[in-house]
């Protein structure tokens, strides 16, 4: 069905691409926006963005300042005085950050694929009301959201399974998020039953229905959940700090945390901090800036799947 729509879209005469800054032509049925409406919309968005961008500015500026400037300001710097990339040089010098970044990317990619597979299957398996045992399974899942286990039993289990000092320890214990499964399931259940029924009449089994109908119609939510998982794996560090002992296996977050912690202590600082060229605060802010990188990478990806009206007609209203 979407394929048909896409085709139609392709056939629409589009001689030149409109600027992405410009508003696309409005459908005929939509009324022109009022000036007041546009203005207030812009104002709210502007304020919201400003409230976010100002602190971000401070963080970026501070990461680019010399120790002297930061000491004079006694903390975060609002107005820059010159620019130095010492903090970033420090972060990127030495193979450790690079190696850790590779580890993080690997764990994130593999982990997200694994989590998505397990979660999508589970969400679809539970999405048909009235199927055998689905309520009991749901309760089983739900209960895990409320009852946590202590650190010691979890550690002993992971150790007993022989997962300590393996990357599996970073993936398996946190592979399933019940929250994500519930969100997926809720979207799956919103898909038009008639579509699924008609596919079934055509002889399609559940695997085919999931692959051919449900998943293509759920691209937006799949993107969102994949993003949740990816961000989760990317920013996780606790499992690594508990289950890994080999420094060479540590993911990026752990290395970053270790770098940031240098802030407090005089001995054991990296060269630049030790000789006073680099403020530990700048280093910390540089780490923060690096932590924002996933947004830059992921945003367009999500954006792609959020096109308005992409699934025209496919979902019951």
């Amino acid at each position: 069905m979407t394929a048909v729509l896409d085709k139609q879209a392709d056939e629409r005469p589009a001689p030149k691409k409109p600027s992405p800054w410009a508003a696309p032509p409005r459908p005929v049925w939509e009324e022109e926006p009022s000036r007041a409406g546009l203005a207030s919309k812009g104002l709210v968005l502007g304020i919201a963005c400003l409230a976010i961008l100002f602190p971000l500015w401070v963080v970026i500026v501070t990461s680019l300042q010399s120790k002297k400037t930061i000491d004079e300001a006694g903390g975060l710097v609002v107005i820059p005085k010159g620019i130095t990339f010492v903090a970033y040089q420090e972060l990127l010098s030495g193979g450790q950050v690079q190696r850790a970044a590779l580890v993080s990317i690997g764990v994130t990619v593999v982990g997200t694929l694994f989590s998505m597979t397990v979660s999508v299957l589970c969400a679809y398996g539970l999405s048909r009301s009235g199927s055998l045992g689905h309520r009991w399974i749901l309760m089983t899942l739900l209960a895990t959201m409320f009852f946590g286990a202590g650190l010691i039993p979890t550690y002993l289990l992971v150790q007993a399974l022989g997962l300590t000092d393996t990357y599996l320890a970073l993936i398996l214990p946190s592979a399933v998020s019940v929250f994500n499964i519930l969100v997926l399931r809720s979207f799956f259940m919103g898909i038009s039953q008639e579509l699924i029924d008609s596919a079934r009449i055509d002889g399609a089994g559940d695997w085919r229905i999931l692959w051919k109908i449900v998943m293509p119609l759920s691209r937006a939510v799949l993107a969102v959940i994949a993003l949740f998982y990816a961000v989760g794996y990317w920013s996780a560090w606790f499992n690594a700090s508990i289950y890994l002992t080999d420094q060479d296996m540590m993911p990026l977050q752990n290395v970053m945390i270790q770098l940031v912690q240098k802030q407090e202590r005089p001995v054991g600082l990296a060269a630049q901090v030790n000789t006073g060229q680099l403020s530990s605060l700048a280093l910390q802010m540089a780490v923060m800036v690096m932590a924002l990188l996933p947004v830059a990478v992921l945003s367009p990806f999500v954006q792609k799947h959020f096109r308005k009206g992409m699934l025209t007609g496919a979902v019951k209203g």
Partner: protein, 560 residues
């Protein structure tokens, strides 16, 4: 809302990463160490001293390798302010003691540990004759991991435990899981390890856990490690003289504070206040108690305690304390406020005297800080209480073979080499030419040295307390002399030097006092609330705990 469960668990822990709690003030591998918290409970409670202790303590054989140019006095560290040329370095380990066996060591680490097979580790292993592999753990969350590792059946061969991680049931775990070193070290047996034999007896005394000598201690001066550090350069510029009494401090602080130009007189001064008013040390649970007129008194019951809080409260009320200090941990780093000149005085571990100077001098040659002497409540001599003479401990597991224990002691003996020896230089600076160069007679670490020689062998053996900054002889001298002056006013309380394991049921009795102190000094709670809390504490078990400690003292005697 945290949609992904994978993120929620880590994010709650990253608090630990960001605020280094008590450990922060302590870490860094500087020779002076201490912390809040302290030993609490365990299955084998009590302590060992007197005759029982004498039977298991190692003999003391002072080191004569290099005489310090500022000898230790009044419980201070020894000061070494002169660099020693490579050619003049002595040898303290004449024979390679290691058997070539392997040892896995789990240790807290502050900062970024180097790669496992780096040249520094190789050189150390080669020199000691033991193949050490490290499991360095983040020092800030160390206690969480420690609890889990000790509960598993696969404990690393050697485990380092800081005193401030001896919470809850950890002391019990230590008694259950770690080996008795007595058969290898007690009495004259320690002479096989001459550098360990030079470790002061009072530090060894702290290594007795559950009646047996289990720990290699990290010796520390017993003079309080919290010093009121002030910006001497700014004091001189403004013509301020150093305050000499609590009232004097308050009036000076009002004069020096200029909030409009972002200058406040001081940061949080609670720890200074405790020393000024002669409050019993808070650095170790057992030190909270002292025999006074035939009765054991706890620090929280004393007039001095309330007076110290009241004075600190006055500072906050007078708005001479930096507003970010009011916010505590959330307010960021007090050290940054001092170096930026936003505060002029702050209470900190004395190691900052050197740390901040070394950090700031490279850009600001005029930067100068110093610690002023504690004064008494009326401006006279202060009454100070000693802190524990060792507060970081290293253990070897019970399942270790005799050979492994001997290898462990070989590592400790090597690392305990005093200043002026080849072993010390290798442990603290690495290999000359690779990890450090000699410039103008001073050893200066290279980048590789900074990255590799940064704390791994810090806790596996240490000599008697020392301060050695040949690059800042004035600072070295200032620190040692401050300790000596303060040491003259320092008294050892009843349980000084003892490692006391409190019974489980009272282990958490006094947990809320630190928070209450913070509330009182910031004016959110009244002194009367504190008095109420103290009387609650008494009725909930404080008085029973007093009897327990009294009995302990009667049965085993103090270590003094």
């Amino acid at each position: 809302m945290t949609p992904n469960s994978a993120t929620s668990a880590p994010s709650r822990r990253s608090f630990l990463a960001s605020t280094a709690v008590a450990a922060a003030a302590v870490a860094g591998g500087a020779p002076l160490l201490s912390a809040c918290g302290g030993s609490q409970s365990g299955s084998k409670d009590g302590t060992t001293s007197g005759k029982d202790a004498a039977k298991i303590l190692p003999a003391y054989v002072a080191s004569t390798v290099v005489a310090p140019d500022i000898p230790a006095k009044n419980g201070s560290a020894a000061g070494f302010s002169k660099a020693i040329p490579t050619a003049d370095l002595k040898t303290s380990v004449t024979k390679k003691l290691g058997s070539g066996g392997r040892l896995r060591i789990m240790s807290p680490f502050w900062g970024t540990p180097p790669k496992g097979d780096n040249p520094y580790y190789k050189a150390m292993n080669e020199a000691i004759g033991v193949d050490v592999t490290w499991q360095n753990q983040d020092g800030v969350t160390y206690d969480e991991k420690l609890g889990a590792v000790l509960a598993s059946s696969e404990i690393p061969d050697v485990v380092v435990v800081p005193g401030w991680n001896l919470n809850g049931k950890i002391p019990g775990a230590i008694n259950a899981k770690f080996a008795d070193l007595g058969p290898y070290l007690s009495g004259d047996k320690v002479r096989d390890y001459p550098n360990l034999a030079a470790v002061p007896t009072e530090a060894w005394q702290r290594g007795i856990f559950g009646g047996q000598l289990r720990a290699i201690p990290f010796p520390a001066p017993y003079v309080t490690d919290i010093a009121p550090l002030y910006r001497k350069d700014l004091f001189d510029k403004k013509g301020y003289s150093v305050p000499t009494s609590p009232d004097d401090f308050l009036s000076w602080a009002k004069e020096a504070t200029d909030a409009r130009s972002k200058v406040w007189a001081c940061d949080d001064m609670k720890w200074t206040a405790f020393n000024v008013f002669g409050v019993l040390s808070g650095s170790d649970k057992a030190l909270w108690w002292n025999m006074d007129g035939g009765k054991l008194v706890n620090r929280i019951e004393t007039e001095e305690y309330l007076e110290a809080l009241e004075w600190t409260r006055k500072l906050y009320a007078a708005k001479v304390v930096h507003p970010d200090a009011v916010s505590g941990k959330a307010g960021g780093n007090a050290g940054n406020r001092l170096t930026s000149g936003q505060v002029l005085v702050y209470s900190q571990n004395i190691s900052d005297w050197w740390g901040k100077t070394a950090e700031q001098r490279t850009q600001n040659p005029d930067f100068e800080i110093a610690a002023f002497d504690f004064f008494g409540p009326d401006g006279g001599d202060p009454k100070l209480w000693a802190v524990q003479p060792a507060n970081i401990f290293t253990f070897i597991t019970k399942t270790a073979s005799e050979q492994q224990i001997k290898d462990f002691l070989a590592v400790c003996n090597f690392c305990a080499a005093p200043y002026g020896t080849k072993e010390f230089m290798l442990t603290a600076y690495g290999v000359e030419g690779t990890h450090y160069e000699t410039e103008k007679g001073l050893p200066v670490k290279t980048t590789q040295g900074v990255n590799e020689v940064n704390g791994a062998f810090d806790y596996t053996g240490n000599p008697a307390p020392y301060i050695a900054y040949p690059d800042f002889p004035d600072v070295t001298r200032g620190m040692v002399e401050w300790q000596q002056r303060m040491g003259a006013f320092t008294t050892k309380s009843s349980f000084f030097g003892l490692t006391v394991t409190e019974p489980n049921r009272w282990a958490n009795l006094a947990d809320s006092f630190e928070q209450l102190e913070d509330d009182v000094v910031r004016g959110r709670k009244k002194i009367s609330d504190m008095q109420q809390a103290v009387s609650d504490w008494k009725s909930k078990g404080g008085d029973e705990l007093r009897d327990w400690y009294k009995k302990l003292l009667d049965d085993t005697g103090s270590a003094n």
